[in-house]
């Protein structure tokens, strides 16, 4: 009987040691990366390779394709204008088309700079929220600070964790929620870069009424992706505002609630504004649904 208890205790200790290592690894590596990947500013464009893909001049990278399409639009309009005299179909006036072409042609070729300004504006709003939090709570509003607060205030010690207790369960939930969050925000990071690469085509599409839907769709998607950042920092600000000095069970669940709010921020923004989903699990679900 005593031998059986020893074996059970040995199994529990082994499982706890495995989870301790896993949580310590997540705590040490994940949260600083999560901060970097969530906080997007114009620095993501200061990458030589990305600049080369985008095009440093009008005859390089993506911009050469966009400028070729601009010429294609001119040819398309010219043929349409010529045919309109035969088919008697009313089309846009040439003067209006040329003005549009010049304005959006300039926008297209300077889209990299325009996007830099938009990203900077978005990061400034986020910084304002961060500074507000720093002034009020005397701590930086970030994921790394949040996890420090979780580990110290809720008395979850990473060195001696018991996975078969409520604290251990909460710690596990928090760690795995944050792990899924980093996948989601990595996806968002890539999608922001893709939408930046699409920006010349989006500005170009405004030249014609029949293609202007592309710009509207692009703008909605990009705005929703950037707006997630503001929502995330607002949730973090709210989490920092909660007083955890008296650690009770309610506070622990509020932390979990806060993390679920961070995970659901993508879905919330998508329902609020529209745009694409950055929820990884949802993508997997839709893939399995497609297969079945």
């Amino acid at each position: 009987m005593e031998n059986n208890t020893d074996i059970t205790q040995a199994i529990i200790d082994t499982i706890n040691t495995i989870f301790e290592k896993l949580f310590a690894s997540i705590d040490n590596n994940l949260y600083s990366a999560l901060d970097k990947i969530t906080f997007i500013n114009s620095d993501i464009l200061n990458d030589n390779t990305f600049e080369k893909i985008f095009g440093t001049s009008t005859s390089d990278g993506i911009l050469i394709i966009a400028n070729s399409l601009l010429l294609g639009f001119i040819l398309y309009y010219s043929i349409k204008y010529l045919l309109s005299h035969i088919t008697y179909k009313q089309i846009e006036q040439p003067f209006s088309f040329i003005i549009k072409l010049i304005i959006f042609g300039i926008f297209m070729n300077y889209s990299f700079s325009i996007l830099k300004i938009i990203l900077e504006l978005n990061s400034n709003i986020t910084l304002a929220i961060q500074n507000l939090g720093q002034n009020i709570f005397n701590s930086q509003i970030s994921f790394s600070e949040l996890i420090n607060k979780i580990n110290t205030n809720i008395s979850i010690q990473t060195s001696s964790i018991d996975i078969f207790s409520l604290d251990g369960l909460i710690k596990g939930t928090l760690s795995f929620s944050l792990l899924s969050l980093i996948f989601s925000y990595s996806f968002r990071y890539i999608m922001v870069k893709i939408f930046i690469l699409l920006s010349p085509f989006a500005f170009l599409s405004l030249c014609l009424d029949t293609t202007s839907w592309f710009f509207k769709s692009w703008l909605k998607n990009l705005f929703s992706l950037l707006f997630i950042q503001i929502i995330v920092y607002l949730v973090l600000l709210l989490l920092f505002s909660i007083d955890f000095s008296n650690s009770n069970i309610l506070n622990k669940f509020i932390y979990i609630g806060g993390l679920y709010a961070l995970i659901k921020a993508n879905s919330f923004v998508r329902e609020f504004i529209g745009g694409i989903s950055t929820n990884i699990s949802q993508t997997v679900q839709s893939f399995t649904a497609f297969r079945s």
Partner: protein, 103 residues
């Protein structure tokens, strides 16, 4: 059950609901010709890209948007027919039935 369609309604299958098969084949043929032309006469990749898009993109736009909802391929067909033989036909399948009512 009876479905009522307008008499001039063209019911044609479309690839992904965007472009019908005739136009798609016409597009592919045109892109092929442009591709051959570009590869035969130019060496610079940039010029190849510019000329291929310049000649291919307008047709793509015409294929997608068309003329008053009418397929560009058929618009050109009707126009060329009209230029060759300047006669207008008012086509009706049941014209014999209609005209037989009149004395």
């Amino acid at each position: 059950m009876k479905f009522i369609f307008p008499k001039n309604y063209n019911f044609k299958n479309k690839i992904l609901g965007i472009i019908d098969y005739t136009t798609a084949f016409f597009n592919v043929a045109w892109y092929g010709i442009v591709f051959l032309f570009v590869n035969l006469f130019f060496n610079s990749l940039k010029i190849k890209i510019i000329i291929f898009i310049l000649l291919g993109f307008p047709l793509f736009l015409f294929s997608i948007s068309g003329f008053n909802g009418e397929n560009i391929f058929y618009v050109f067909k009707y126009m060329s027919k009209y230029f060759i033989k300047q006669k207008l036909y008012l086509y009706n399948k049941n014209y014999k039935k209609i005209f037989s009512k009149f004395p």
